[in-house]
């Protein structure tokens, strides 16, 4: 039984902390958020330089070969730093599909470019009617004269506009909610018949609504076996769920200690807010929820690492808890900051908004509870 980091992991974390502390000021971040670019290409180049973009990819591909622990460490700090760059979309989701996929050609060439910071990716999987069900796919690739034609719409494709390549889940056989019959394709975002409408998201990121109309795809674009893409998608979404939970934990930690700090400095009725016992006990609740969330995160990471059979249940439990406790914690942080908590100029509100969105990503608490009950 050991919860300590090894030397490499400690070094990794320290380097991330150091970079973000030095080069990722909140005010600068907000300038980028409010710009049309949406994220900083310079920062992205730094990330490549620092090796973050190579983190999860195996050494055979010249990646760093990091596992769930390393990813947890990185994402926690990206959460604390409120990092806006589309790491999740390009590396975890898009890169994850390529890495777990069976298309060796694309795998080799595109992951190399991802690691070099040369291309961006996006995963287009959600549809208007699908809610959080990965198997609920109406977007369809139908046989045409030479190859397939892709038709359908995908919603809230994170990093959809900046992506050079899109990974798309499409139905190649079966009814709309059949777990079989889903194939994953990876295609250039500029391919004919693809229409992207991009927008900011409520947490200050970028996403797109994407329409596919008669887009030609063929076997060379396939990154899963025909009709068997769901397993890959499920694995990638599981990795991504763990990643956003790590990010959420970083945010919860930041919010807890920033709130404590704020109440110690803010004077009302001639004394610091932190001297009011009712507020103290509420901050203690925040602290306990933070630590309980951290425990579930470590538990899920360890169970992933050890490839334990109850991995799925552990991740569902984690996401359920972080979704519920994280949002409650965010609300409390805002409340205890009073008026300051709802201003755009303060980081508190942006942490809060990101936590709120994370609850929804890859299935909210209600959905995760269903998964947990089904898996347990």
């Amino acid at each position: 039984m050991d919860f300590s980091l090894n030397d490499d992991q400690t070094m990794l974390r320290d380097s991330i902390v150091q970079y973000l502390g030095k080069s990722y000021a909140f005010e600068k971040r907000m300038e980028v958020v409010d710009s049309s670019a949406g994220f900083s290409r310079d920062k992205w180049a730094d990330f490549a330089e620092l090796g973050w973009l190579s983190l999860p990819f195996e050494e055979q591909l010249d990646g760093f070969g990091g596992g769930p622990i390393e990813m947890m460490l990185l994402m926690q700090e990206l959460g604390k730093g409120l990092v806006i760059e589309p790491y999740l979309a390009t590396v975890v989701l898009g890169g994850g599909c390529l890495a777990r996929g069976n298309n060796e050609k694309l795998r080799g060439s595109l992951i190399a470019k991802v690691m070099a910071g040369e291309i961006h990716l996006a995963l287009a999987y959600a549809e208007a009617q699908s809610r959080f069900e990965l198997a609920h796919v109406e977007c369809r690739a139908t046989e045409a004269s030479d190859g397939l034609l892709l038709d359908g719409e995908k919603i809230v494709v994170m990093n959809g506009a900046a992506a050079d390549y899109l990974v798309v889940s499409a139905r190649t056989s079966g009814e709309q909610d059949d777990p079989n019959g889903i194939t994953l394709f990876c295609i250039e975002a500029g391919r004919q018949g693809i229409e992207r409408s991009s927008y900011k998201t409520v947490d200050g990121m970028e996403a797109a609504h994407i329409r596919f109309e008669g887009v030609r795809v063929d076997a060379s674009d396939q990154i899963s076996a025909r009709d068997e893409g769901l397993a890959i998608l499920e694995n990638v979404i599981r990795d991504a769920t763990l990643a956003v939970c790590s990010e959420a934990l970083g945010i919860m930690e930041a919010l807890t200690y920033k709130t404590i700090e704020y109440t110690k400095n803010r004077q009302q009725f001639g004394v610091p807010l932190s001297s009011f016992q009712a507020l103290q006990h509420r901050m203690v609740e925040m602290f306990m929820e933070l630590e309980q969330s951290r425990s579930l995160l470590l538990r899920a990471v360890i169970k992933c690492h050890e490839k334990a059979p109850d991995r799925a249940a552990a991740i569902a439990a984690l996401k359920y808890y972080i979704g519920t406790a994280g949002r409650k914690l965010g609300e409390e942080a805002v409340q205890l900051h009073g008026g300051m908590g709802v201003t755009y100029e303060m980081d508190i509100a942006h942490y809060f908004k990101r936590l709120t969105v994370i609850d929804t990503l890859f299935g909210n608490s209600d959905y995760q509870m269903n998964r947990f009950v089904a898996a347990a």
């Binding site: 959080f132 998201t201 008026g339």
Partner: protein, 399 residues
């Protein structure tokens, strides 16, 4: 013990319902329905329609142009207003400063200000909070020094809602610093917003909106007859206003409407896709809030009935604030949960009449996150819920 409406009250209900479905500007209701942000002009047209009907002074006595309505009539009015999905009446003039002026103001002040407030020709904002005094309102630092026939104002007000649209501000300022209790020496003053020395800075809220402001006073001179009542008695007047602010603060009728809407939305998603896997679990969540709201409705009715018999509203009015905002926020949460991914896009413009693109979702889905974010303020402003609990504690514990 009963809550039935008399024949004349039922008649009144019909009249109010017809007003909102016919005389009130229907395009404003349509904007509300579509979730489009209202302009100042929309509010003004709406309030003017109510004014022309003679109903602007809901809580005002008849002698000042008010309705003189009974508690039941007011209840019916607010209920129908919510059922029509009508925007709330902006409170600063009609609910806040108006009652202070007709209660404590001079005859000249009543003549000068009340008509413009009633008709919504003059817009008001509220200068209470300051950067250093939030919950601890009485610690305010803004100075108003008497200089001949004028007061000279220096200081900063903040969280000033809609100050950018206001013609006037009512504010609390310190006219005497040599006092035993910080509640003393505070005066209630009226200031024209175009007075030299006033400047505004917008405060953008977390959802990207400009609703609130900081307002800076740099040697602003106002005529001394813009003092309301006696110098140094401002705290007393201000408290009266807080009671009025709490009228209808429970927002029962609006929340009832929203819960009904949520149920339809759930049924609609169940029919055409996007509903949670366990619909019944979500229905139970709605029901849980609905039951709390049923309780709050009767807590409000009890308060109204008690006020109607001449009793002062007790600590129950703090319950209305706390539970009312908790329920509002719980409903915001339900909308957010139900919306799923549809809540993520930040595309306010998609419901504008001239938007060229496709609407990505039902407006309730599309606005869910922003409304949820914005209304975190509800448990903070108007005396935070923590302050309300202190008030109740004092009243029921006697501590």
């Amino acid at each position: 013990m009963h809550v039935t409406f008399s024949d004349s009250e039922q008649q009144f209900q019909t009249e109010v319902r017809e007003f909102f479905s016919q005389e009130y500007p229907q395009d404003v209701l349509q904007k509300m329905h579509d979730g489009i942000m209202l302009e100042k002009e929309d509010f003004v047209r709406g309030q003017k329609a109510i004014y022309e009907k003679g109903w602007a002074g809901v809580n005002w006595p008849e002698e000042y142009g008010g309705t003189g309505w009974s508690a039941t009539q007011k209840h019916i009015f607010y209920e129908e207003m919510a059922a029509a999905n009508c925007p709330s009446i902006v409170p600063f003039g009609l609910s806040m400063v108006g009652p202070v002026i007709y209660t404590y103001g001079s005859e000249a002040q009543k003549q000068k200000f009340l008509p413009g407030i009633l008709s919504s020709d003059e817009w008001w904002c509220q200068g209470y909070s300051e950067p250093g005094s939030g919950s601890d309102l009485a610690s305010l630092k803004m100075r108003a020094e008497r200089d001949g026939d004028e007061y000279v104002l220096n200081g900063t007000k903040t969280w000033t809602t809609l100050a950018q649209h206001a013609d006037w501000m009512f504010l609390l300022a310190r006219t005497n610093t040599d006092v035993a209790r910080k509640q003393e020496g505070i005066s209630f003053l009226l200031v024209k917003m175009d007075a030299p020395g006033i400047s505004l800075t917008p405060i953008i809220t977390l959802d990207g909106e400009h609703e609130i402001n900081s307002v800076f006073f740099d040697n602003v001179r106002i005529p001394a007859d813009q003092l309301v009542g006696e110098e140094g008695k401002g705290w007393t007047y201000g408290k009266l206003l807080l009671t009025h602010e709490r009228a209808n603060i429970a927002g029962v009728a609006v929340s009832q409407n929203r819960l009904e809407d949520l149920k339809s939305l759930l049924a609609q998603k169940q029919a055409s896709g996007g509903a949670p896997r366990e619909v019944n679990t979500f229905a139970r969540k709605i029901a849980h809030v609905e039951i709390q709201l049923h309780a709050l409705e009767y807590t409000e009715l009890r308060t109204l009935a008690s006020v109607a018999t001449g009793k002062a509203p007790g600590p129950e009015s703090s319950i209305l604030k706390i539970k009312g905002t908790e329920i509002q926020q719980a409903i915001d949460n339900l909308y957010y949960e139900l919306a799923g991914y549809n809540a993520i896009p930040y595309l306010r413009e998609q419901f504008a009449a001239d938007y060229p693109g496709q609407q990505l979702a039902e407006s309730t889905d599309a606005w869910a996150a922003l409304r949820y974010f914005n209304f975190r303020k509800a448990s903070i402003y108007g005396g935070s819920n923590e302050i309300q609990k202190n008030i109740i504690a004092k009243a029921v514990l006697g501590v």
